[in-house]
Amino acid sequence: MGFHLPKNFLVTGEPMIVVAEVLSVLTLAGIVFALTYYKKWKWLWDEWLTTVDHKKIGIMYIISSLLMLFRGGIDGLLMRTQLALPNLHVLDAEHYNQIFTAHGTIMIFFMAMPFIFGLMNVAVPLQIGARDVAYPYLNALSFWLFFFGCMLFNISFMIGGAPDAGWTNYTPLAGSDLAPGPGINYYLLSLQISGIGSLMTGINFLVTILKMRAPGMTLMRMPMFTWSVLITSIIIIFAFPVLTVALALLTIDRLFGSHFFTVSGGGEPMMWANLFWIWGHPEVYIVVLPAFGIFSEVISTFARKRLFGYSAMVYSMVVISAVSFLTWVHHFFTMGAGPAVNSFFSVSTMAIAIPTGVKVFNWLFTLYKGRIEFTTPMLWAVGFIPTFLIGGLTGVMLAVAPADYQYHNSYFLISHFHYALVGGAVFGCLAGLYYWWPKMFGFKLDERQGKWAFWLFNIGFNLCFFPQYFVGLMGMTRRMYTYPEGLGWTPYNLISTVGAYMMGVGFIIMVYNILYSIRHGERDLTGDIWNGRTLEWSISSPAPHYNFARIPEVDDLDAWWHMKKRKRKQPWELRPLKPIHMPNNSGRPFIMSAWFFVAGFGLVFEWHWMGIIGLLGVLYCMLKRSFEYDDHHYIQVDEIERTESAAGRA
């Protein structure tokens, strides 16, 4: 209890951080000024902060994750700058630790996952012919919990000090003995808050996909992206509670002096590793399976062919998701689990290569004899195949338990997981971003600039991470903040850094492309700018807030493709319009998450009174929600008619 400011509450010891602080304050002031000057506060509140529309929530997720890709990317570039040449001192050891921790944590929790969630929100209800997700209010709450959790994490380096025990946050390194102060608390509480949001997203999309598909859309007629989201949701529901527990136990250890992970009181430090990776390995699939789904959509759209081996794709995903829960120990083969345990987890890990291989062959067969069109999304999808093969093969090498003693914690590993996470998840997110952009905003991103960005990013990526396999084999270990001359590492590291900067340039072009295309991008007048196959392309762009004026009826895979082929209108297309029941906007998800932030911030500094106030705020919001009954309204037929004809649809 009590209120005592830690020494150096506002971090001022490091010039780079002071600069960042000044810039942050200026940016914030700029935003506040602009909103006030252009009288946009009400618009911001009414249209965005209180929205329960899944498409807008998706857009907010995507904007946030692009910002976090920038933030995490800057961290990556800082690290690569520090490592470009031997004996550099751009960063000191302590600062380097904080930066790789922030980089890893932000990239996984606040970039890759929310990016996927964003695309899920944008595309899934449209793909299944639904008007909304199952729980729109909860959906908004999930987003704001992610957002405020993310903010809590992001202020750590300015206020109180950043976590520095790596994104895996192993105990005892992360225990209060070795890491006193607020840093690790930030990690624990911000992930806890955003993690609750992730779990609710999982539940929401599971129910949405199981219960809200358009008539006729059986499970085996679902678009592949929707399938991947369904599987992902199941993984989330099984994995996230384990993370919740792990984070809570370590929080209790740190804040209240219990002994889950401290050897002195009989605790078990390895328990953190186990709980963390029981969640952590499936987490990899939470970000990569939806990316697989996106590649499947994009490849079949631009090869103008039905996806090859649809059901094999589905079953391989199911197998991957199940096996992903049986491989967690491969993250600590070297920590003394014994040969029998290691063998089991070694084999189970390698087993994942089989269904993954099936998928790669299906993509290749879909491309085979297709009328391939190399649009930007297609480039990302095709570019993914070689990078993922490299990532996958080196993954199998790492899965050989005895060999792992050699590669473990070396740059070989760093390279492997960046090939999987960047070459898999990030390429997927970017493919999805270019692909669904017209559906979100009604215009296309510039193709020429898109291709420049792709090539710079792709070549930069390979330049950056391929050499790392070799320095890894030469003995350079991860989390090393500098290295001496004369080991032969220098050329590899230099090339790697050059590649990293190329990726940075690619990212800048991508952002420029967005700004450029807002004015000059090709407008999507048909709603079907790519000549798509699935239902999201059957409605106008951007989609009206009720999505479908009439709920479509589906009779095959690639429903929209078949509808386009048919000459005559189907009976359901001729039905009269009816009023549509829609959820009301609500400011409570935002406010409730802000209370979570207050609670989290208080607990970070062990100001328990503030934690309690925050939690009471949360409880009060839940109480208000419990008493809410009239949270829907109707859109009348004349309004639907007006909207539809404005979009050029009768």
């Binding site: 002994h259 002195s264 605790g267 328990m271 009023p579 549509i580 959820p583 419990s626």
Partner: protein
């Protein structure tokens, strides 16, 4: 009739023979979603149980389960909670008969039993702490207080939630919406009871046996 954002493909409430709490599409979705949520809660408690079982023998020279647990006390808690699950079930039965008085009566009984359970649990915890058996004492006690405390916190939240819903029932009577809420809080209550059975066996019975 208006078309729902949650598309209705099945018959409307009046036509179908579904119980009141399942009568709208929205309710069906919410009840299903709650079951899924309970699935996640199972994983949560399973993780806590696993942690507890790993740490159960690690008393670091402090009091052991056998020294602490009083058979009489935890039997009492168990009987009270099991009974409350039964009365809660009677409440759901009253819901099926659309009897507001019946629901109120049985849920209030459930609430009181829940409160008694929480009171006993708090007394138990205070007693342990008085003997120096705090969660800071040993890994075993950290695991014990966290597992049993998490359950207790769930029960307390359940009590609070039930009170809110009973207020709404009084205000609005038995409607499709209140029926759903009564039903869901009932599901939650039974779930907590099931978790307790595991605590009873894996924590208390095993604790006094070994």
């Amino acid at each position: 009739m208006a078309e729902h954002a949650l598309q209705t493909h099945s018959k409307s409430a009046e036509e179908s023979a579904l119980p009141l709490e399942y009568s709208t599409e929205e309710s069906r979705l919410k009840i299903f979603g709650f079951w899924v949520f309970l699935g996640a809660e199972i994983v949560l408690f399973a993780s806590l149980f696993a942690t507890y079982l790993v740490l159960a023998g690690r008393t670091a020279g402090g009091p052991t389960a056998k020294e602490l647990f009083e058979v009489k006390d935890f039997m009492m808690e168990t009987i009270i909670l099991l009974t409350s699950s039964f009365t809660c079930g009677l409440g759901t039965l009253a819901l099926r008969n659309r009897s507001k008085g019946g629901i109120l009566f049985w849920y209030v009984v459930t609430l009181l039993l829940g409160l008694a359970f929480i009171a006993l649990e708090i007394m138990e915890f205070v007693h342990y702490v008085g003997e120096g058996a705090t969660m800071q004492r040993s890994a075993f006690l950290s695991g014990f207080f966290t597992l049993v405390g998490t359950h207790g916190a769930h029960v307390s939240l359940g009590i609070l939630w039930m009170i809110l819903i009973l207020i709404q029932l009084v205000q609005r009577g038995v409607t499709a919406a209140t029926a759903r809420r009564v039903f869901i809080v009932g599901l939650y209550w039974h779930f907590l009871d099931v978790v307790w059975i595991f605590i009873f066996t894996l924590v208390y019975l095993m604790g006094v046996a070994y």
